[in-house]
Every structure is written in structure tokens, then in C-alpha cells.
Amino acid sequence: MKVNLISRGLLALSSILLISIFFFPLWKIQLIAPQYPEGLTLYIWINKITGKTDFDLYNINLLNHYVGMKPVPSSIPEQKIMPIIGGILIIFGMFSSIFNKRILLYIYSLMLIICAILGLGDFYRWEYEYGHNLDPDAPIKMDPFQPPLIGTKQLLNFTVSSFPHTAGYLAIISVILSFIAIIIDVKLYKKGITSINLIYLLFSVFSCNVKNEPEPIKINEDVCNLCKMVIMDKKFAAQIITKKGKVYKFDSIECMIAYYNKNEKDIEKAYVTNFLNPDEFIDAKNAVYLRAPEIKSPMGMNLSAYKSLDDASKVSKEGEILDFEKLRNLIKKEFHFHH
């Protein structure tokens, strides 16, 4: 199965963002103490551990020996594999985007989240090791502790804070993007919307083009814009879309036309409901209107709308047939609504 273009784009962007792990640190651990107002800072990269200055790591280890913590190395064994895994993820993401297979997108997202969880879990485990495996001969005795994974903690004279850094944040965004890609894909798949009209839809949302498609009427919920009555019957409902893109709903054709007559210059499009198929809207200008006493419309003018003259004649043979302009004149003369 093919994936829609948006999801493919998000997938590509997700794997491109992931490239940042080779150029920026993933995580930042900062230690601030009265004697270190400028702080000692560690950066955790995909393949190494560094200090903010050349000597921060050295100095942190020097201080750590007082509480018996093992020295932090300039890289841990995992960091030999992590760049390879990262590289595979990036390449896999890009291929998935190019080959356009739904299953690949799902595998990519799954891999991404698994790697993130494993990475954080490993980080937590290392921190646990450091905080709990204290040398019993250390000059300063300290209860075993868990350094923070995310957040801030006070450890003796040091305030230790641990947060993602540039590549960490970008990786989080990368994970989120892959999930958005899946969500969009699932929704569209259900609705059966193709990529082409989805793009058209998005264009119409994001561009300055005002939308002019009618919105479905919600029975017992939507309120008539003119008479303020709740719309109870779909069959008579009507709708106006203004040039600014606003949608006004009406409980009856007469209310809609009355509004139309007053505000013609602001109106982009008007719709009425097909009396024979209440889920279908008809362009108000092309509709055929029937005024028949046996059809009681909500505002008492007994108006209904149809796609064709034939449809209208099926419903009533006695009734008066009107076109849009005639209807407007009729409403002008006979329908006077007061708030």
C-alpha cells in the first residue's frame, strides 16, 4: 500500500532531523556549586562524552573521587554501536520515504521509539551504576543516589541538572513527526481520500484561497443564523459561505434567502439541501424551488429545494415552481423576519 505524500514528507523530515545526532550533543548535564558559579558541564554525544571546556570531564572526575564515584570515561562501549544504529535509522527512514510502503513507515517509527527507549534506559542504568557503586574507601560517605535523567537534583554542594540538548530535542521532534505521519496516514486511509485531493485540501487550508465547500449540518445542534432557532430538520436546511470563509447555517430556505438579500455583496456561495436527499447540498443558484402547502417548512413559507424540475414535480404537482431570482423577489415581498 502506498503512503500519502504528507506522511512521506514527514517521514523524510524525521530522518533528516535525525542527522543532527552526528553534529550536536544529545544530552547536557550541568553541575553548579558555590565554587563553580559558571558550572561544570558534560555533553553526551552519540559517540562520546565531553566537557564544555577541555577540562570539565577531568575536573568532574577529580571531584567525584571524594564520594567514591568511578571516573566517567570519554566514551562508553555502547557509543561505538550507537552511531551505526543512528545511521541505519536515518538511511532506513529515507528509503521508506522513497520506496513508499506503508509497512516501512510503521517499522521506522517503531525502531525509532525502541531506540529512544533503549537509549534512555541505558543512560538511566549508567547513572544508577555511578550513583550506587560507590567506593567504600571514599573520604566522604554518601548514601547511594540516582542522578537525574531529566530534571534537577541537589547532590552535596552541587545542583545537578540533566536535560536534552540540541540533538536530543531534534530527535524527540523526529519521533513526534514519525507519529504524526502515521496518524495522518491512518485517518486518510479510513476516509479513502487520495493524496491528490488531500493536497488540494491542504492547499485550500493553508493558502489564502477561501474555502467554499459546504459543511454538514448538525441536527439539534446548529442554530439558524437568522432566526436563532435550532435546526431540527435537515431537509429544509441551508447554508451560506461568505467571501471571508465564514459559514452561516439556516433552518430554512426563507431564512437563508432573507440573509442573502441583505448581505449579497459579502457572500461567496449559498447552498440548499436536496429535499429528496438531505445529505446532499445543491448550489442555491442552480436549485429548483417548490412552494407547496403540503410541505410545511420551518418558517411557514412551505419552501423546499430540488436538483431538477422533475424531482420537484414528483413531490407536488400543485405547487408553485420558482428559480433562485424569483424566490429572492418573493422573499423580499412576503418574508419579514424580526428579531
Binding site: D54, F55, N59, L62, Y66, P136, D137, I140
Partner: protein
Amino acid sequence: MKGGGSMRNFLIWVTIFIISIFVGCAPRKEAALSDIAQKIYVAPGSHDEFYVFFSGGFGGHVTVYGIPSGRVLKVIKVFQQDPETGWGYSEETRPMLMTSYGFIPWDDTHHPWLSQTNGEYDGRWLFINANNVPRIARIDLRFFETTEIIEIPNSAGNHSSPYGTENTEYVVAGTRFSIPIPQRDVPIESYKDNFKGTISFIKADEPGKMDIAFQILMPGFNYDLARCGRGPSHGWCFFTSYNSEQAYTLLEVNASRNDKDYIAAINWKKAEECIAQGKYQEMPATYYHNYYDEEKHMAVSEVKKSVKVINPKDCPGVAYFLPTPKSPHGVDVSDDGEYIVGGGKLATVIPIHSFSKMLKAIEQKAFEKDIDGIPVLKYDAVLNCEVEKPCLGPLHTEFDGKGYAYTSCFVSSEIVKYEYKTCKVVDRAPAYYSIGHLLVMGGDTRKPQGKYMIAMNKITKDRQLPVGPELLQSAQLYDISGDKIRLISEFYTLGEPHYAQGILASKIKENIAKIYPLEKNKHPFAVKSEKEARVERKGNVVHVYMASIRSHFTPDNIEGIRVGDTVYFHVTNLEQDWDIPHGFAVMGSEDAEILVMPGQTRTLKWIPKSPGVYPFYCTDFCSALHQEMQGYVRVSPSGSNIPLKYYTGLPSPQSQK
């Protein structure tokens, strides 16, 4: 009764008047004080605007102050042995104090001079002279440490120094005391025949490469102070001289007879030409050049054997004399490079010469006479104007960049401010007491900052809490940003500062070194890690390769040392964190302690005299477990067969299981 009533009224009015004075004035005075307090207040933790470098005088050091707060920031060790840091005691620094006279543990520093580029301070180096055994030192402003010292041959009383040129091509030196050149055994009465002065130009723009470029042989006067030209006068340096009488006894009378002495104008570009043309004499002379190898952490002495000497007779145009009243002390060149102010300490005027008039007078040969081949220019032909009755005992002058000059006056104990183009006095302010030098921030550059002025006084007396007969020297800080000179603060200085220079902190503070990188340490006895620490015996000499890091030494116990051994403790500080020095002191050491900065190696020599166990310890409170930072050296009798043994830490009982 009537008279009594008017008397009572009078008394009431007087009382009201007096009360109104107190009531009316008190708040105003308070406002003025708080305004002054704001000018010098530097909040805790924030930095001063200027570094000011004061010479230490007979202390032999340089003291660094923050201005406007007046806080002491550092004492830089220069011409001295300093037991506090081990400067001049440690094996690495002893060569810095070597001279042709031997190891000299002391000197008298007078004039700090900040290196310049295009006539402005560039923040690279500070130079300072040694007056007693003629030398000039370079202080590297990345480290605030002395890194080079050159001895000046054919010189005595190196007072008119170092006062360099506007791109630091040269620093200069002149003889305050004329002496037989070359030195030889002659009767002092033969002064006029045998005694000469010299003016030396020392290449200064390459660190580690200071060298006497040339010396100019001068008449046997006392060459007192110097300034080099800037802008239009770049290429010239000016030296005051007194004792043109050539007296050699009771100078206070005999050297004060002439109404005018001279400012010597030296054309050093001309001198360079004469050197290039071979118009000089290569004179044998022994002098030391000591420099500190930044990577080996060790000073090296180099002995030089000759110097190029120019006789003005062989190099016409290299020197001229400008008559200047009377026994002039300071000579200072204005910020625009055009005016040369002489501080005639016995004169009733301050003479201001014009550089362009001097050039014209030379061109027109407006000479009044000739001394040893040096033309004496006519006073009127070079004079711009005289400041009439400025004060008593004018000495030194600095400039604020707004057309004003400030001259210190020793005898009347004040500073006088005047327009140097017109010689018009505009203000004066007292100094407490008997001011010597003064400084304006950037006052000897093309673009002085003005803003602050500092008086350095010779007499302190009642200005501070009394502390016995010996007092520190007082310094006063003035605000000169407005029309009026305003005294805003006072502080006390170490040694006897003669001169000081102030530089915007921003020109230095970003370049400061915080540590010495261990990986760049090329000291032959350095250890880069505790694994390399060891003890080696070579006959009767024992080298201890020792590491120090919070909070222990490696090794901390040493056995197998014997009476008769010479022990060298080579201590490397393995720290790489700012402001974590470790010290090292051993009981019974006849030398000082050593302070070792992060990444540095320092060596203390120790000759134990009797058997026993000698503790050593870290002297600098380095950490919470500083008191635990110690060790022992076991010294056995001479000829003992106790083997050499050393360690730090025994296996812990837990790990033995």
C-alpha cells in the same frame, strides 16, 4: 536694659544663622558624598573598569590594582626573591635573577610601561626597570608573570627606563649615574674625563628575544627620565638630564648651579641608519638575558658578550640637546605627539617644547653650542610656551586627550591642570602629601581615556590609621571627567610605587590564562599522571618526580634518602581547574616553599642534614581534605643501606580480602 535687649536679639539672630548653616548644609554634603561613593563603588562580584599596574619601588615587584575600587588584585614578583611563591628560590625561577654581578635577590622597580601598538596600549606586556642593577623585565599579561629579564651593560642607575616606542619596537634605558665606560679603576675626581652616560635601545617586540640593539654614548650627566614620541614624533625619544655641572659630590648643591640643564632628543631611526652603515663600535661587555620558557616551565640564562655603541660624533643627527630649566625630572610627550613637557623640579616655570619647532631649529641649525658632538638647540627656537608660576617642584605630566596636561608638584604637594598649547592654568588640586608621579588612564598614549587620575605620594603621615614609624605610601584617586579635578578616593600601596599605568580591563581580561595545560608541559622532570611519579637516585642526587592533586601527593612516603644527599622535589600540579594551586614545603628546608599552579612543575632543592623522618605538606588550602595532603621523607645516616622505596596508599583491608 535696652542695651541688654538688643544684645539678646543679636544673639538670637546669630544662633538662628548658625543653626541655619548646619541645617542647610548637612544634606547637601551628604548628597555630594553619596555621589562620590557611587563613582568608586564596584559591587561585590563585579569587575573594575581598569587594571592599574604600580611599581613596587624598593619592593622589587609590581602591584596590580582594580580602579575605581582601589582593590589589590595581585602582586607580580619581578626583581626579588619571594618566599611566598618560591619565585627566585625554585630551580625554575632562579635563573631569572642572574646577572653579570651574580645572583641578585632584590632590586628597585620604578616605571611600569605597557606595550603599545599604534600609540595605544595593546594589553600584551608590561615592562619594568630595575634601578640598582640595571635591568628591564617583561611581564606577560596572559599570566601576569615575569617572563623575561635583560641586563643593561655600560649602565648604572637605570632610572630613565623602560618608556618604549609607540609600536613597542624598543624599550629604552639611560644612566642616572654616569660611570667609567667601559668600567675601570679610576679616581672619582677624574669624573669629567672618564665618566660617561649611555642611552640604550632594547628590542622588545618579540618575547624571549630582548636584545640591546644599540647604545649611544652620552656626556657624563645624569639621565633621569624618558618618553618616546608618538604620531609625528615617532622615531624620537626624549631623555631629561640634570647635573650638566658634572658634579660628583654633594650633588644637591653642586648639581643645582646651572639655570638650565637639557632634554636629550634621540633620533633612533637615525641610529638604526648608522648601525646599518657600520658607524658603531662593537664593545666587549658581559650581560645576562634571562627568559622563561613557557612550555618547559623553566627560566634559561644566556650570557651576552658584546654591545654596539654609537658615538654621536660618528653619527651626526642622532642626538640634540634642548635647554630646559632647571634640573628637569620628568619629560612627557603630549597625546598628539607635538609637545614635550619638561618638569624642572627647581624651575619656576613648566617649559613646553614644540616638536615641529625643534625640527625647524635643527634644519636652520639654530644651535647655541656643541657638547661632545651633540648640538645644543637655542631655547627660544624650540619653546612653545612656559606655564608661569604653576606650582613648586613640578615633576611629571600626563594628558587627558582633551587638550589638558596635569603636572604633579612635589614641593607644593598638588596637581596643576593647564592647556598645554597655551600654557594657561585652569585648575589645581591638593595631594596628600608630596606627590611624585601621577597617572591618567591611558595618559601616555595617543588616545587617553582620561576619566581617572591617580596621585602617588611620598609621605602618608596622618592619612590612615597609625601603624608605627613605617607607613605604606598613599595614593589618591581623582575624577577628571569634568572641568574640575575631584578627589574621590584614597588607598595605600605596597613598597614605594614610583609610577603606574592604567589600562582598560577589557583589553586584557579576555586573554588571561587560567591554567597551564598539562599536555603542553615539557618540563624535563614533569609527570603527566600519578603513574609516572617516581624517585630516582644518581649518586648523591635524588630526583623526586612528584604529582600533586586533590588531596594527596604521589609518592607521599619516601625512604632511602641519606644524609649527604641533595634531594630535588619536582612537583607537578596535575590539576586543570582555575585557582587550584598546590604548595609544597618540607621541614627544615633552608629555602622557601614552592607554590605550583595547575599544570605547572616547580622544583625545590633540599639538603637534609641529620637522620630522621621529615614531614612535607601542601601549603595552599586546596580542598576539604587539604589537611590530609601530607607525606614523610625518611632520612637515614650517611652510608646507610636502606633501599630507596616510595609509595602512596596501601592496599585497603577490603581489597586484600
